[in-house]
Structures are given as structure tokens and as C-alpha cells.
Symmetry: C2
Subunit: 322 residues, 2 copies
């Protein structure tokens, strides 16, 4: 800890459209934050220069020196070489072998750690969220894709080599849905918000009388992941089928994770999680009925993430504060 | 280490029909071994008394005292509470909440550790087998069922709670095959030797002209897991379909494990592994083509286990020697 007695970290959530930058203290509270556009089409050094300068300015504006700062953590989409702080590949920001940590340190001369963004979110939920105090947790984001994060003995488990913990890329259904990763039938192609929206559009197109149409104002391009749940609530049979199918795939996916990791909790984040207990109640019923050895062994609960869109920043800061 | 300078452990492989007991040295060599029938229908204390007395006698016969013995490890089928050395539930030997470690120590007064048998086999392959020197490995046995073992940073990872690392109980196909665990479509119902034999019988029954009949001497009860591979080798179309389907399910299962754990190696044990490269060549092709990020990330290889039916003893001894 520095002479000033303040110990903070910079948490950076690098996204496809925006970069969120926060100053996080040792209690995982966000003391200050800002956001800048990513403009990922620029050369990577320009993007990283912006991030570094903005983070350094944010520290200074809030009265922190580099000596107060334990380091900076970055949550990045894609496949990360966390040992060397390199983004090996990210489809999202179109980076290829980018030395993010080394580049960022030019502007922010503190220890820098880089991790996959879903891994960061998982850590954030364990440090100060829905899995606070848990030694073992599994995290799934249900958003554009399905991201995964694993915490074992309180630490991120990213796999033995880069490309592990890709929990959205385990086989799920058998409809021959092509995944962005190239494989067929990944969990992501069934349990992402994108998949639910895709399925809802198809369902609506095939059922002109469905409430789905009214709920998206007659324009399928306005379909979102909430509408199928709202339609189901209102008794619409198409909505019910969509929600039941969606939950069935997700339930199978998290039951697999329970049988593999038998964690304390399974935390669900991302847009679809706004559905709260409409999602977790049936999932937990399925877990109780289908987990291996559920009569003698601990059955983990599925819970909704608590850190919302600050999960990335908090978890990234956790990489250096932990 | 004792005054005699010898440091050994007892490795015990508790099976449904026989118990294998070995004396294993610090180089994981089996110095002596014996086998006794399990007779699992007896009360558990009688079974454990036999094991303990036999192990103690084996040590004495080979010139080892209790002081030479670092401890005893037991690999048991079922769901294990490894912290307390209790077999919570085993369908195989019909045990329910059996305090195996405490009971065994009555006859063998050394530290006793108990683990799931597939976890032991996984550890054995890392200590002195196909994954020797690997820090991270995943192990699958393809036998009566599909057992799983995970090694992370050189140690068994059994999950956060009992009932983890059940890699045979992740969802695989969609044919609504009921698994012994109660769930539908577990990997075990497609990729076990039992499943392959079941499928081969069905295939033969539907195809009276298939070579499968000749290879099992006209008696489907003599079907085994080798026959479909032999039939495929001889050009039989039924054999080819069986082998292709079997490998496809297994390939999907191990690709999932690669995407989750990204281990150094994926080790395959159990009866089906006698097929060697007929199994691993297509599996490795599939892994290279389907692993997430395979163009930038490490793709683990599937390899055949090397410890054969001594894997359990060696791995169990490893629980105390490691």
C-alpha cells in the first residue's frame, strides 16, 4: 500500500463499442468511472493509447497517483494469453495477437493483467456479487453470445492453455445450427439472447396470430429477448414454446456444468437474466431432478448475477486486487 | 521416510467383482500385488475387513512395516466424500454412506485417502502414464459406463462438492436414451462400451446380412466392443456406421472437454481403447477442426491410457505418495 494509504486498481471492460474504465477500491467499490468509444476499426495502438491516457487521467482527477494503484486489469473479449497479457484473437474487436498489457503500460505504468471478459465477470460475482464468498462458481453470460467463466478455489480457472472455459462452445442441441466458432450446435446457438431472438422471429413468421407480433409492434426487427417471456406470461402458446425450449437447452447446459464442476453456485448474467426467477425457478427444478447423484450430493443453485454491467470492471480490477 | 529407507503406499482398486491391492513405491512401480473377490453383497464392514487384512498381510509378506507405508489410497466407484473418506453412494457395490477410510484404518493403521476410481486412474496416468509430466489432463474411461477424471495443476480436481467430475454424465445426443443416473442422453449412453455393444446388437438384428453376425458367431449375446471395429475394417457397412457414430459422439464429448479445460492431453481408458489409433486418429482430426479457436489456441491431443488395469492401484497409491 502506498504512503497515502489508499489502495485502488483500475478495472477496464473492453467492449466492441465502448470501453468502461473504473477506479475500484479494495472493497470492490467503484470510486469513479468513465466510458469511451472503442472505435475498434483503428490500429490497436491508437485504441490502447486512448484507454491508457483516459485511465491515467481518471486516476489523477480523483487524487490518486500511480503509487496508489495496485495495477490495472483488463477484461477483453476473445482468446487471451493471460500469462503474457496478449489478446490472441478477438472476433469482436478484430484483434489478432495484440500485446495489450505491454502497450497499455506505456501510458499506465502499473502492473497490468488481461483476462477474457467473461472470466472477469465470473471473478467479480465471486468477489462481490451473487457468488460472494463462494470458493467455486461457474458463470454464464446470456447475451450476444454465451460467455463462460470458472472460479476454482477462489481463482479464475481459464483452462490449462488459452481457449479454455469456453462454456458457450459445448455441444447442446442437434438441429445443426452453425456457431460463429465454426462448430455445429454449440450452447451459444441455443441459449444466447441472439438465439432466442432468432427463434422468436422464426416462430412469429410461422404464426401470424401470435402475440409476438403485437409485442414487437408488427416489426420483427424489433424483436428482443424479453418479448417471448412477456408473450408466455400473457398465455401466448408460441411464447410458451419459445421459453420452454430456451430454458430446456439452458437447463441441460447448466446441469452439465454442475456434473463437471459441482460448484457452490451457477451464476447467470447477460441480458436474458432480467427475467430473474422466471429463468432460475425452472432451471433449479431441472437441476434438482437431473444432477448426477442429486439424492446424496450437493446440487448447486442457479442464481442471477448482481454486478450488472459493472461486472466487467469490478472483475478486471479483481485480477490485481485479489 | 522410515528407518528402513523404504517408502511405499498401498494402492487399492475397489471394483464390483474384485479388489486389487498393490504395494507401490515412490516411482509408482508396483512391487507386489494381489486380488480378492469383493463379494459386495456382504455387509460393508466384512468387505473392508477383508481388504484391510489382505493389505496388511501383503505389506508384511514383502518385508514392509506400517512405518514404511506412507498410507493407503482407495479408488472406489461412486460418489465419494474424499475429505472424510466416505463412499456416499455407489450403485456398483451398493454402498450407501460407508465410512471406508475409518473402517479400513482398523486393520491398516496408516493415513487412508479415498477417491472416485476414475479420478484415481486420471491421476495415475499423470504420475506415470500417457499424461506423465502434464499439469492438466482430462481422463475418460470407456467401459461399462463412462467415468471421468480431471487433473488441474497436477492434482485431482473433483469439483467443489462431491458429485463433480462426472464427465460421463454430460448431455450428448438427442435420442432420448435413459441413463442409469436418471437423466436422458448422457455421454455414457452413447460412448460407453455398453452403449456400443447395445447399438451393435440392434444394428445386427436389423441387418441379417451384416458381418456382425459372423463375428459374434451367430449369437448376439457374444457381441463385444471390438466386433464393430473389426467389421468396419473388413468393409462391412453396418460396422462402419456403428464406428462412425460412436466416434462422432465421443469426438463431440472430448471437444467439449477441450473447450472447457483446454488440458495438455485427453487420456482415454477402458475396454474400447484397445482400438488405439483407430479411435484416436479420427478423434484428433475432429479436435483440430472443431476446437474453439483452434487456429490460435493449443489443441489437446487424445491419447490412449498406458496403465491399463493397474491404473486404479497406481492412481490410488498416488493419492498418498504425491
Amino acid at each position: 500500500m502506498s504512503e497515502t494509504g489508499k489502495q485502488v486498481a483500475v478495472g477496464i471492460d473492453l467492449g466492441g463499442t465502448a470501453v468502461k474504465i473504473g477506479i475500484v477500491n479494495a472493497s470492490y467499490e467503484i470510486l469513479a468511472q468513465t466510458s469511451i468509444p472503442t472505435n475498434a476499426e483503428r490500429p490497436y495502438d491508437a485504441v490502447i493509447a486512448d484507454i491508457g491516457k483516459t485511465a491515467a487521467a481518471l486516476l489523477a482527477e480523483n487524487g490518486f497517483t500511480v503509487a496508489d494503484c495496485a495495477g490495472a486489469g483488463v477484461g477483453s473479449p476473445g482468446t487471451i494469453d493471460s500469462q503474457n497479457g496478449v489478446v490472441l484473437y478477438s472476433n469482436n474487436i478484430r484483434w489478432d495477437n495484440v500485446p495489450l498489457a505491454a502497450e497499455l503500460q506505456k501510458y499506465l505504468p502499473v502492473p497490468v493483467r488481461v483476462q477474457n471478459d467473461a472470466n472477469c465477470a465470473a471473478l467479480g460475482e465471486v468477489l462481490c456479487g451473487a457468488a460472494k464468498g463462494c470458493q467455486n462458481a461457474v458463470f454464464l453470460t446470456l447475451g450476444t453470445g454465451v460467455g463462460g467463466g470458472i472460479v476454482i478455489n477462489g481463482k479464475i480457472f481459464e483452462g490449462g492453455h488459452p481457449g479454455g472455459a469456453e462454456l458457450g462452445h459445448v455441444k447442446c442441441g442437434s438441429e445443426k445450427r452453425r456457431c460463429t466458432c465454426g462448430r455445429f450446435d454449440c450452447l451459444e446457438t441455443y441459449a444466447s439472447a441472439t438465439a432466442l431472438i432468432h427463434d422468436a422471429k422464426q416462430m412469429a413468421a410461422a404464426h401470424p396470430d401470435s402475440l409476438l407480433w403485437e409485442l414487437c409492434g408488427g416489426d420483427l426487427e424489433r424483436m428482443n429477448a424479453k418479448i417471448p417471456f412477456d408473450a408466455a406470461d400473457a398465455g401466448d402458446s408460441c411464447g410458451k414454446v419459445l421459453v420452454d425450449n430456451y430454458i430446456q437447452y439452458l437447463a441441460d447446459g447448466i446441469t452439465d456444468l454442475a456434473n463437471i464442476f459441482r460448484p457452490d453456485k451457477i451464476v447467470l448474467g447477460g441480458g436474458v437474466c432480467a427475467q430473474g426467477e422466471k429463468l432460475t425457478d425452472p432451471l433449479n427444478r431441472y437441476l434438482r431432478e437431473n444432477c448426477f447423484g442429486s439424492t446424496v450430493a450437493y446440487v448447486p443453485k442457479a442464481v442471477i448475477a448482481e454486478n450488472g454491467n459493472q461486472a466487467g470492471m469490478i472483475g478486471a480490477a479483481g485480477l490485481v486486487l485479489q
